[in-house]
Amino acid sequence: MSTQSVREIPKQLSEWLTNAGLVDAQTNPAWYFIVVPKVLLFGLIMIVPFLGAFYVSLHEWAPLAQTHPFIGLDNYVQLLHDKVFWKSLQNTVFYAAMLLLFDVPIALGLALLLNMKLRGTRFYSAAIFLPVVTSWVVVSLIWTWIYSPTNGILNISLASLGLPTFDWLGNRALAMPAVTAMSIWKHIGFNMVIFLAGLGGIPDHYYEAAIIDGANRWQRFRYITLPLLKPTAFFVIIVTMIFSFRVYTQVYVMTNGGPVHATYTLMYYFWEQGFGRFNYGYASAMAVVLLVIVFGLSILQQRTWGTDVEY
């Protein structure tokens, strides 16, 4: 490999790489040129800003100011005393909890039904997946109209059934649940497909053997499907939580955080502080909170990654 490889790149470059200690006789220098664009992008676009978030959060940082004074942990202390921050965090946790309670189990149920391979499965899955491919802005617009207090179809339907109607997005108690319900509707198909892939990954011969052994449908589900689906389920739960902590677009389009702060989320408040009020330092402190939460969840996921079931 090595004798050939030297011809693949200019001589000076391979000499430079050898001198830099990156290349020895066994290494083909071409690999570096193949991998380097992506590594540069990681460095400049991911790692530098990632470290930058921590750095900026320790400063009072207004974008147009001449200096950005170092203020230690003041931004974090201020966060602890900021009622809007706590309200935002509370709403975000509510959102994540609702997705875990409704999105994940319903997605699993639908995946199991689709996995029965009934006639029409292709149509059902196509329909349920439709909201996933549509953008958040579009579905947010549509649902703002559905939730419209006077003429939205939701209130019209309720009224025609003789039920009370509500100003869904204008009511402080209902706005966050309304935004969350719409998000569950949008997101279910995503988890459903991951579950479906997980179900598809369970080898046929397990079921065949169970049928020969006389296991009924419930036993096959209980002793084959469920245990083998555990890693997928865990993956879905963690990814749904990570996803939930980023909730932003639907709040921006549907309620602008209102009424009052009823639908503020972590990312919405972050955006408002950072790009509405240009408190880069304060916004970055919130970004670090998000990073810590997401990292915690990811570590949890990595830990169980190893305990995967082997087929």
Binding site: S5, W31, Y32, I34, V35, P37, K38, V39, L41, F42, I45, M46, P49, F50, G52, V56, G109, L110, L113, N115, M116, K117, L118, R122, A126, F129, L130, P131, V133, S135, W136, V137, V138, V139, L141, I142, T144, W145, I146, I153, I156, I194, A197, G200, D204, Y207, R220, V236, R246, Y248, V253, M267, F270, Y280, S284, A287, V288, L290, L291, V294
Partner: protein, 293 residues
């Protein structure tokens, strides 16, 4: 990779083999639930479509008036004439095409190097991929904005694209795919005198077509729907992608639902059309996020 979604309707769990009335009840129940779920998923889109076809003054309706008596395309004409929708669509297409191109190129290269390469620092690069995989892009937009303004890239297409091209997901995915290619293929190609890059272009890329098309579809959907970063980094409305432009219309057309729904339908149409043409590829793209290869 174990992400082949089987939507064929072919029974493999033996659920359909048993007979008797109990089976019929279970099946009927399953159909019932799936029909309700499908209807719930589709109705909001149908409602948006119906609204968009109604004259603005007749939007205020009762249940009986949901279906427009005299459908009109005036809402589409008006929203199109009054806003640079064509420009926004062009921007979205350009950004999506750019990101898809660079993602496929750079991620397949890097994935190839990680799966089949043998070089110092390979493990470091892999850790970089796995590490950046868990960084939520939203959390780094403030420092990235500062960096982009240092480079004088604010309000450029490049700035929008960089964040998405740097996404590590595709590298991870392509690495998993290339790991499944037997080494003997590469050795045989070496014997025939192929260089490392020739193996990539002649052997690896052609084999990776299914994985690449899934990645392309996944990336396209993602970029088409991207919102927060373009909203932040672009200051000129002529540079906006469709989603950002669309979100800005809500204030302007606060109660003109016919026109807003027309805009929503226009924005949804390209992706929905592509989706209906290639449903399986779309779903496999999503399923790949859950696969560990």
């Amino acid at each position: 990779m174990s992400t082949d979604l089987d939507l064929s309707g072919e029974d493999r769990t033996g659920t359909g083999r048993a007979t008797g009335t109990g089976q019929y009840v279970v099946k009927a129940l399953a159909h019932g639930i799936l029909i309700v779920a499908s209807a719930l998923a589709i109705i909001p889109f149908a409602y948006a479509l119906l609204t968009s076809l109604k004259p603005e003054e007749k939007i205020f309706s009762t249940m009986a008036q949901i279906i427009p008596a005299e459908p009109t395309v005036m809402n589409y004409v008006n929203i199109w004439m009054q806003n640079p929708l064509d420009r926004w669509i062009f921007n979205s297409l350009l950004l999506s095409a750019g990101v898809v191109f660079f993602t496929l190129l750079l991620d397949s290269l890097a994935g190839y190097a990680l799966a089949k390469g043998d070089f110092k620092g390979q493990r470091f690069v892999y850790l970089l991929v796995v590490g950046t995989l868990i960084v939520p892009p939203q959390a780094i937009v403030v420092p990235l904005y500062i960096e982009m303004s240092q480079f004088k890239l604010v309000n450029t297409y490049w700035a929008v694209m960089f964040l998405y091209i740097a996404n590590p997901f595709g590298v991870f995915m392509m690495r998993q795919f290339f790991l499944s290619v037997p080494d003997s293929y590469l050795e045989a190609a070496r014997m025939d005198g192929c260089s490392t890059l020739q193996i990539y272009t002649r052997i690896m890329l052609p084999m990776a077509k299914p994985a690449l098309s899934s990645l392309a579809v996944f990336t396209f959907t993602f970029i088409w729907g991207a919102f927060l970063w373009p909203l932040i980094i672009l200051s000129d409305s002529a540079m906006y992608p469709l989603q950002v432009g669309l979100a800005g219309l809500t204030g302007q057309y606060s109660s003109q639902w016919g026109q807003l729904m027309a805009a929503a339908i226009i924005a949804a149409l390209p992706v929905i059309t592509a989706y209906l043409l290639a449903q399986k590829t779309f779903m496999e793209g999503i399923a790949l996020t859950g696969s560990k290869g």
